[in-house]
Symmetry: C2
Subunit: 712 residues, 2 copies
Amino acid sequence: MNAEESVELEQLMFVEEPMDGDEPRVHPAWLPPEAFRSLGARRVLLHGEGLLVDTVLNEVSRACARYGGRVWHSPSWDVDVDLVLALRDADELPNPSVEAARAAGEAALVELGDGGPLGDEGFVLARAGDVTAVLADAPAGLLYGLFHVVRLCAAAFDPARPPERHRPALRRRMLNHWDNVAVHPVMGQVERGYAGGSIFWRDGRPRGDLARVREYGRLLASCGVNAISVNNVNVARTEALLLTERLGDVAEIADALRPYGIRVHLSVSFAAPVLLGGLSTADPLDEAVRAWWAATTRRVYDRIPDFGGYLVKADSEGQPGPFTYGRDHADGANLLAEALAPHGGVVHWRAFVYNHHQDWRDRSTDRARAAYDHFAPLDGRFRTNVVVQVKFGPVDFQTREPVSPVLAAMPATRLAVELQVTQEYTGQQRHVCHLGPWWSEVLGFAPWGPDGRTIADVVTGESASGGGMVAVANVGDDLFWTGHPLAQANLYTFGRLAWDPRRDPTAILDEWITLTFPPSATADAELVRRTLHEIMDDSWRTYERYTAPLGVGFMVNPGDHYGPGVDGYEYTRWGTYHFADRDGVGVDRSLASGTGFADQYPPYWAQVYESPETCPDELLLFFHHVPYGHVLHSGSTVIQHIYDTHFAGVDEVTAMRRKWQTLTGMIDPSVYERVAERLDEQVRCATEWRDQINTYFFRKSGVPDERGRVIY
Amino acid sequence: MNAEESVELEQLMFVEEPMDGDEPRVHPAWLPPEAFRSLGARRVLLHGEGLLVDTVLNEVSRACARYGGRVWHSPSWDVDVDLVLALRDADELPNPSVEAARAAGEAALVELGDGGPLGDEGFVLARAGDVTAVLADAPAGLLYGLFHVVRLCAAAFDPARPPERHRPALRRRMLNHWDNVAVHPVMGQVERGYAGGSIFWRDGRPRGDLARVREYGRLLASCGVNAISVNNVNVARTEALLLTERLGDVAEIADALRPYGIRVHLSVSFAAPVLLGGLSTADPLDEAVRAWWAATTRRVYDRIPDFGGYLVKADSEGQPGPFTYGRDHADGANLLAEALAPHGGVVHWRAFVYNHHQDWRDRSTDRARAAYDHFAPLDGRFRTNVVVQVKFGPVDFQTREPVSPVLAAMPATRLAVELQVTQEYTGQQRHVCHLGPWWSEVLGFAPWGPDGRTIADVVTGESASGGGMVAVANVGDDLFWTGHPLAQANLYTFGRLAWDPRRDPTAILDEWITLTFPPSATADAELVRRTLHEIMDDSWRTYERYTAPLGVGFMVNPGDHYGPGVDGYEYTRWGTYHFADRDGVGVDRSLASGTGFADQYPPYWAQVYESPETCPDELLLFFHHVPYGHVLHSGSTVIQHIYDTHFAGVDEVTAMRRKWQTLTGMIDPSVYERVAERLDEQVRCATEWRDQINTYFFRKSGVPDERGRVIY
């Protein structure tokens, strides 16, 4: 068994080769020119000044040049227009269109107003006679208003359209790029990247394609994202230097993204004072350390005045942190917060902390408990410009986990929920897996019981003071940005949910489909739309069906996390076990007989999760070790459920592929082919999951499938 | 789960860092200066001429300079000596010592003679009055005779010592280096190398340390190895060039090894005519291809007149081969043999060919059958200068496998048996695992039944016409050559068994201990000797006890093959399964109900292996799927045997470590520390094996340990 076995490992990294010859045209994602057709045919008046107003002007000009419309920027004479985009406090002009629009907008604000201001990013849309008016208090609001008009298409100009007021529920809507500057010997250029290289970095240096970065910023702005971190939370030597001698590389990215209202954040090493500053300690209570962070941060803001702040993974999976100095996470986070405060910056401090040298023989330690055990006691100790960033589940971005109890345990702390747009455990952008429904379920979870506040409420906070939403990014230098063209929808959906976490994810998907696949001469747009919904709407649940059952999680190949490996993590130090034996399967996390994790929830859910009788089916094996014959609420036994869902999952993937094939000729051939290839792989891989999971549990349980299907 | 998980993967590659400052002194292995003490105190007369005679002269001179002896090279006057080393046919000199020695030697030859010649490598040792005489027909014989005298120490000069005649049973005693010239992205510098980098290559170029290569040659000559291949059987682009434009790099190695009687061979790509020659085909029956190989081989011999020949892995694990052209392995091998024949070279053609894209669901395909199915039908079709090189077992160098039936299936073919000195599946030179007893068992196996010929007979052949013994090498640029200092014994043992495959491996180990750990002021040599025997003699069986049970094999971590991974290969394409379920475990390879592999043996063993009642315990699960309650010949059940051997194995390793600790202060501290560290790791890893294997089978079988020990 030799080199080829290893080559296979390499192939799992799945790096797209650049095509021969010319740099390939980059796919426009959900902003193809045709999406601007309705806007571009209008007469548009733009009123206001500023960098982001210029961005709006560029967008409108480009659209009008293509589709025959016309644009004026603050003319001092009267013009007959269809659309006014105006800042409310811009200088008065003797222009009746602006005046009428402004009046209609102000009236709408009174009608819809909740007393709160529109804010930097909000806008109002109203009809004033034959004119559609978009009013905002600040340039970013105009930019978001413009993209709203694009999404509405003709509906934005419907005379009967009632007025609308839009403000983001969350102040910070952030993507974390786990991009490495230098190629990591094993993780490559992008850790958990499934779309080729980084759009920012290549082989230890900036990639040098700022046009691509700008294009990325435009996509993000159009779905509402307003912050990114530009390097991996695992900060290695080269990446640490971004804070100091390589700061210019970060400033270039910030300059490219600023016109789209996107602020840049940096992942930093807690050991930076030692690594970069030559100090002998990084102790957060040491005066020299505080001074070093203050001075270093000042230099960052000298160069990047709108710098967002720091992102830190500390005392986690080998990263340095305050534990080295006998300090806790509050001490550590507050150190950086103090340095950032004078400049308006924030620290995102990750709660993903656990013992990653666990002994699989030790059943008393439970990785699921770790974040709560570490962080809940610190509630109230974090400075106001600290955001504690909590992975949505207690383990690690699984296809199905309960919602992290940390999110209900720190009322006096600004909390952000961390999602994973990059599909590490959900098919790695080779599988269609639309994550909107899963994220909505998480955001809609009410930790204090059905009538209580939700995760969306927690991260929104009082008066938008919450920590917001953060997600690990899924783009790379791939032609389609995301490897799988349909994975673009996850990026879009994240942005739109971060703008309004209570929105219906299927409605968001519908927006994405409509923008991405506009009507064309060769396509039946309605058929395409319906087919894509059929393929994507339920695809996360399909993925769940053919992979790890009933919330048990982590039955994946170690290392790359793609494909089945039922015992792959069972005897490792990573704390992710299923304890399957000949009689049953699952982890007892009850208070009565298990690790007590269930008791980390507020009483309502603590009680529900405590008993296998009340625990929801989909989380049963996360909370309980039960016999294979245990009867679920669905009426099925655990073992028969495993068989049934795995057969069903593969059938559903096969159906997805068949449905996609009906779209031949209606889709850009390059998109069609890429999706078709990946659906082939999804069918192959889902079949592998089905057969390995079913065989594994049949060999263990000895229980035959009721329906006599083939198990190996 | 992030970078650190992967870093762990990297660490498994286990590359030794060079020490700071000076190049570390290389450990002398079994040739420390003290091993020459007895020789070096004598008066020695050397008679004869030639490159290898000069080598003998250097060895003797160095020893005498250190220990006060004296050496003469063919003096024309009379000298009073203790030892004469002489070529039989060298010019007569009026020297009574030589004459007396020659006479004694000739008399011994008559007394001991079997009618056969001494050959190029044989020698006779006899006493002539007060003189010990070593006579040989050729310089290599003198060199081997010299090392024999070194091994004998004072016993070589015992007046009562009867005469001895030595000839190697096997003409070719070969090591294959799986060393890459360029660092392979995953396999590194040495594929399956556990002793640092290559002694030949570094980062795509020759390593440039020819002194080290010469020292290696000296070690090999002293244990009897006379051929090596210098590059990996998986031939990548850079390595392919060794045959042509980089031939000079090979010639340098050949020059360095020639004084020790070692010939250099080269692993070549079957696709070389296309890769290097610019031809459109590598079809073995194509005239241009034949001409290309003939011309290329002629150029090789122009540069390296004693070049050994080619080693080929064809149509195996992705390597190119004759199948591409609809030809078979005989066609392929004969093509190269034809090119080599005029120059006296040989082709080693590996029989390690199987389908490495097997579907684990398909129980009709059996990797164990593959080599026989491919090669047995070709018997008689290979040219006489082809050696078909057969891995000792039908799968892949496992700790326990049956002996390959191919070795009994090709009477009209020259066969070599391939062993693995590098401990890929036997502890990777972090575990003490002395392989001599295992190899002896393989060599002593009588495929036609207890009274028939053995594997040793097969590879020896009629009049030494057999294919010989080959092994994958275990040295690297490590300070101790082999990572684990005690792994040197495996290299030594291979050489000595290749010289005489019927020798007792414990006696060989005793030689190695005596040479490597000579008496010193601080050591009780007898205690050291006894302790090392206690640690090493049974260490292979200990390793077997705590790893995969009863011949089932391959319960290792995929990729690196170190440490337990019971299901690691169970659902892969590599054809290595155990089929454990809740009722039983093992692979049915019987003719009656299984894959029929058992029937590939001659009738005696075919019958023995066919039934679980007659199959030897240690191979039971290789040949049969049996219930956990199946009673072994030992009287234990399969499941209880698993528990008992795994507990016993760890106890034995713990005892090994304890025994080693009794040697503190008696061993070179650097050797002591290195072994001590590795014994710690062996205890850790053996414990992991015990607990994972026991837990796995307890969870599956539900059968408790009779003795109530802890299983998790």
